[in-house]
Each structure stands twice: as C-alpha cells, then as structure tokens.
Symmetry: C2
Subunit: 387 residues, 2 copies
C-alpha cells in the first residue's frame, strides 16, 4: 500500500536502495511524504512536548459551538488563512475534524438532515475524487444518495454538489456546475488551495469550505481537517455528527497542528524559511521533470494549466498539482499497464472517467518519484508499448 | 457542558472556588477528569516529545490488516491486557479507532455488511448506554436498525446485541440476553472492565471486544479505543469503515497512548506507583461517600454489587462503577429535580428506562464531586423534597 511494498514502516528511509531497483512504487494514495525533508531541516522548531497530565478532558471550550476545538488551533487557522489570503474566516464557525474526510461526511449529514426532502442527491463533476463515492455510499444512508457526475445530473429535488478546487484528480480550478440555487448546496473542498500547488487568485468566501492539514504541510498522520461554516445550524449539525461519530477530535493532533500552522504563518514571508516557498519549488521541479518525460515521447498526456498571478507570492506562477492526471493517447487500461511496470496509480474509472487516465500522486518521497520518472521514460513512446 | 458552566477551559483549575458556591455541576457526560491528579503526581514520567518531522505518513504498518495501527501501540495493548488478565489477545486482530464510539460503529458496519439479510436489528438490554441509540440511528443506515431493549426483542432475522460489562449506566456485570446463536452477533463493550471499577473475575475471550483508553486512565481527549477481533473478515470490514470514515487514527494520540499504557503495565505491580491501586482507592472512597449519603436518607436508591475475588489484585474487592445509577423512591423526574439543584445528570429515559433514575458520572474532578455530595445530602430525605 505504500512506497516499497516490502518496507514495513512508512517513515523508514532504509528502503532507498531497494526502490532504485525494481520494487513496486505506490503512487495510488496521496501520502504526502514529499515534504518530510523540509521538516527534518527545521529540526526542533516544531517539536511538541505533552506531559502526561495534559489534554485529558473531552472538552476544549464549552462556550464554542465546536466544543472540542482547541482555542489555540482556532486562532492558528484564522492567522494562517489571513497570512495566505486564500479564504475568509470572519463571521464563520470553525469545525475541526479527524481529517477532512470525516468533515465531508459531517457536512453531508448536516446539509441533508436540514433538508425537508430526503434522500438528498450527492453529485460531483467528473473526474471526481474517488473517495467521495465511498463516503456518500458506504453506510447506505437514507439521508443522501450518490448520483455521480454533476454535469449529467438532472434529477429534481435537493442536491449537494462537491466542488474540489483545485480539483483532485486533475488540478483544474473549479466552480459548481449544477447551479440550481433554490435547492442546491455546495461543499467547497479546498484541500489543495495553497500556494505551493496553485496560484492564490482570490480569497474564497463560500458557505461551507473544507481544508486539511495533511495536504498543506504533509502531516497526514495527524488526521486534522477543518471546515469554515457560515450557517450556525449547519455547524451545529456537523458538530452533532462528530460528537456521535467519535466524540470529538484528538487533542494531541490539535496541539501539534497548532504549533506547525503557527510556524507556517510566522515564516511565510521569510523566503529562506518559508514552507510555501520550499513547497512551491519542490512541486514545480517535479512537474518540470514529469512534463519533460511526457513531452519527449508520444504516449502520454497531461493537463495544461494557465499561469496566473498569485496574490500570496506577488508574482505570476505556474500550477503544480498534488496529483498528475496522466492520460494515454490510445484506448488502453493505463492503470493495469503501469501496474505491469510496478507503478501503482488510481484508475480513471474510479474517478468516474475513462480507464485510459490514471491519477498519480506527486507527493511521494524523492526516491519513489525518481523511480517513477525513470520507469515512465522507458515507456514514453507508443511504438515500444505494443502488447 | 462541563464542570462549572461558566468555566471556559476544562483543564483549568481556576474554577475551584466558584464551584464550591452554587454553580451548575455537570455530571451528565462521563468526562474522566478524576484521574488527572494521579498524572500530575507522575510529573514527567509520561511526557511525550514529538519532533515536527515525525509521524507524517497515513501509514503505520502496511503488512497489518489495520494498516494505520502503530506497531508499538499494538504491543502496549497486548502487554497491558496480559498484565491485568482481563482479556485474551492471542489469535486476534487489533483494530484501533478514534475512541471506542467510532469502533462500535465500525463493528455495526462490519457485522451488518457481512450479513446476508439487511437491515440487521441492533439491541441492548435496558438500561443501556444512551449513545448506542444515536450511534445506531443517526445516519439512518439501511444496513442496521435500532430495535431497543434486548429483553423484549422478538423479531426474526439477524441481530447484533450490544453487551456492556460492567454495564453503563448501572455497573452490573452482564451477559447476552437474546442468545439466538444461529443469527445473532454480540459486540462486547468492556470499556469499564478494569480493576479500579470492578473485580477482574475472568479473562474475557469473545469474538469482538471493545476497549477505550479514556476510561482506563482518564485520557478522554486522546480519542483512542481498540477492538480485539477474532474473525479477519470482520476486522477487514472494520478497517474499511475507519479508512472511509477518517483515513485512520491520529498518530500523535497513538504514540501518547503507547507511552501511557506501557507505564501502566510497568508499574501495575508496584503498589505505591500503580495507577490501578490509585484508581481503586479513589473510586472506592467516592462510592463510600455516596452510599453514606444515600443510606442516611430515604429518598434515593443505588444498586448493590456483590464483592468478588479479583484475579488482578489477588483479593476480594468491591465494585465501584464509573457511573452511579441513582434512583428516586417515588415516581419523579429525577433528572429535572436534580437540575433544579444545579446538578446535571443523564435521565434514565435516555437509557430506555424510567425517569426516576439518572446516570451520574463518578469521574468528575474532586471539587465537583464534593459539591454533588453536598447537594445530595441536602435532599436525601423525601419529606424535604415535596414540590
């Protein structure tokens, strides 16, 4: 399921040499281990120390709608959005979750519970984040029903559109497509709306916006996400979901996320220290290497992204998504083909699309990325890939 | 929602003086803050230090069915059960969850998904843990359906019985009551089967057993629970639920739980240091004070528990449950009555029972417990309580 399949511990570096040979490379999940090197360079700067007697209660602030949200994390989230300029936080409730997956389900629960008519249709434009299908289906809820592609959706009645922008898997900036205001709600998933992935062209200002710690800094193991929610009734229902589902969110993770987000904010204008400068250069360099291989052959396709002025960096920059939406120029099950080459990716069919596309994580460790580029270079021309 | 309602931060001690006056005392939730004093005495013994670059991946051990379970936590769990002798861990899969609430829902999902006929009936004998009703109902799943009291359950078809032992709310040791082997499954919730609450009379050895870190040591804020699961297919389905629901469990919390559980194991035979010796004395003393007040009046009732030989302590001990199941000797809405006295409790109706009973947390801070005993003493006689 990860990096080298025969490596037991994901954080181990002992597998570097092995991977250079012919082990299976897993670029299916988006495990954001690429950024670990930055945090290693930071050494003790974000070390957290938690004594045994601390963080014992279920409760963080009983006066807050989200009673399990640590007040310092709330401040850190607001400060970071303020510094980056990617989202409005004023006049909003912040709801913390065990990752943004749990929050997305809390939002589906909240919006559909508050709908007079049920089940509420859930849609997302193709290609969509494959996990949405599972999140909207697995418990077979009577509150909502997965209805697939938002572009072909024509059912009457209430619906919720999931809008991921920039999109997972293809990195495109997105807007809702259904737009039936009278009975539609939108969940805006901004997991990747950070300047190392995409130019920050506007301060997002929607009713329900999701963010995740994992994809900003790479701390996926902490399972911290947050929602910015305008309507108190929606926020309350989300908190109800999180209360029944897991009685809140790990305080240790909240404490660590607070420390790390505060460090991001503090250093974001110091180029030599800024995580976002580091992350932008890292992602840009990986995309240049990927494009070079793809463009030097005739087998593969990649989306093109317009350059745009980034309000955060104060200059025109390119887009370097967390996933590559790799296509094959002929009809072919690209996922199976790459699997033969010992590269695991997520098939386009899981994203509601054609199997000639795959989603490839661009956030692996350097070594896995090197091997991927190496293997892709060996199959970049169609004439060499005949069955 | 906690201790003193006008105190903002649960872990603050600044509210001690206020509570001695006439603030609202919240004994509704079972926030286990009683044990914090033990951990303060332990000072730095269980301090965890987490550098910024650590615990970043989603993955803990990709060779394990529960791929997000930290291997050191698995060892710590097995060692503690071995030292206490309360549950068999051999030939079982350990599944970690964001508290045992999430695991209970994962178990409902797993057992019902694997059932040919759906929805599967969910039952528990009255009085039951009120949260089970919410857990089995809130997403309106087609997989399972809450059917209430196990004792009056007479529907045909598959069912799952939730057996909490010792029981929440009334502290009684329990066995399944439906016992239709051909189509019944049992989830054994052993949240309170630890020697500070109840004599350890046998090593539990069931197909699906739930435990929670919160109620052992008081670390509710960590949101760590675990399931011991015999059947690999059930374990896999539970992991599927946890993967979709929250993509695993906080690594920071797992790391801290590992440190603390290891300390429990290491010191459990050293009387001066043992958490269980401390916890047993603490709970016993609180129960003695509570019984003294109740028995000195004629208004209230409490369950009686037989003494029993505890295999862990090696002697006959009494039972001191985490909740008191307080009854009133006449028909009366006891929860409302106590609320007038500024003591919040959980009404017996929420546990499928009569309103003349309430569940009272015995795990509050000392100060809140003192105020509770003081207020109860002022209403212990019926003749003073006429409306």
């Amino acid at each position: 399921m990860i990096g080298c399949e025969n490596s037991k511990k994901s954080d181990s570096d002992s597998n570097k040499e092995k991977c250079l040979s012919d082990d299976v490379i897993n670029l299916d999940q988006g495990d954001p281990t690429a950024f670990q090197e930055y945090w290693m360079k930071m050494k003790d700067r974000c070390t957290v120390v938690i004594p045994g007697w601390d963080l014992m209660s279920y409760f963080s602030d009983t006066t807050n709608v989200c009673w399990f949200l640590e007040p310092e994390l709330e401040k850190a989230i607001k400060a970071l959005h303020g510094a980056i300029g990617n989202a409005a936080t004023e006049e909003r409730y912040i709801v913390v979750g065990t990752g943004s997956s749990q929050l997305c389900q809390a939002a589906l629960f909240a919006l559909s519970s508050l709908s007079e008519v049920k089940p509420v249709s859930i849609v997302a434009a193709v290609p969509y984040y494959s996990t949405y299908v599972e999140e909207a289906s697995y418990v077979q809820s009577l509150l909502y029903k997965w209805e697939g592609d938002a572009r072909t959706f024509d059912k009457n009645g209430p619906y919720i559109e999931l809008v991921t922008s920039p999109n997972n898997p293809d990195g495109i900036m997105r807007e809702p497509v259904v737009n039936r205001r009278e009975d539609g709600k939108v969940i805006h998933d901004f997991a990747y709306y950070w300047p190392h992935y995409t130019p920050i062209t506007r301060r997002q200002d929607h009713d329900l916006m999701l963010f995740t710690f994992s994809k900003i800094t790479g701390h996926a193991g902490s399972r911290i996400g947050w929602a910015l929610v305008k309507d108190i009734e929606v926020a309350k229902k989300m908190v109800q979901y999180l209360t029944i589902n897991s009685i809140g969110v790990s305080k240790e993770s909240q404490t660590r996320a607070t420390t790390i987000l505060n460090e991001l904010t503090k250093t974001c204008r110091t180029q030599s220290e800024s995580f976002f400068d580091y992350g932008y250069e890292k992602m840009k360099s990986r995309w240049e290497r990927l494009r070079e291989v793809v463009e030097s052959g005739d087998a593969f396709t990649l989306p093109n992204y317009p350059q745009a002025f980034c309000n955060f960096f104060g200059k025109t920059i390119s887009t370097s998504p967390a996933f590559a939406w790799l296509g094959y120029k002929e009809e072919r099950d690209l996922g199976s083909f790459l699997k033969e080459k010992k590269v695991l990716t997520r098939g386009g069919d899981r994203c509601g699309c054609n199997k000639k596309y795959v989603r490839v994580s661009m956030l692996s460790r350097d070594n896995d990325f090197d091997v991927f580029i190496h293997r892709l270079a060996s199959i970049k021309d169609r004439k060499c890939n005949q069955p």
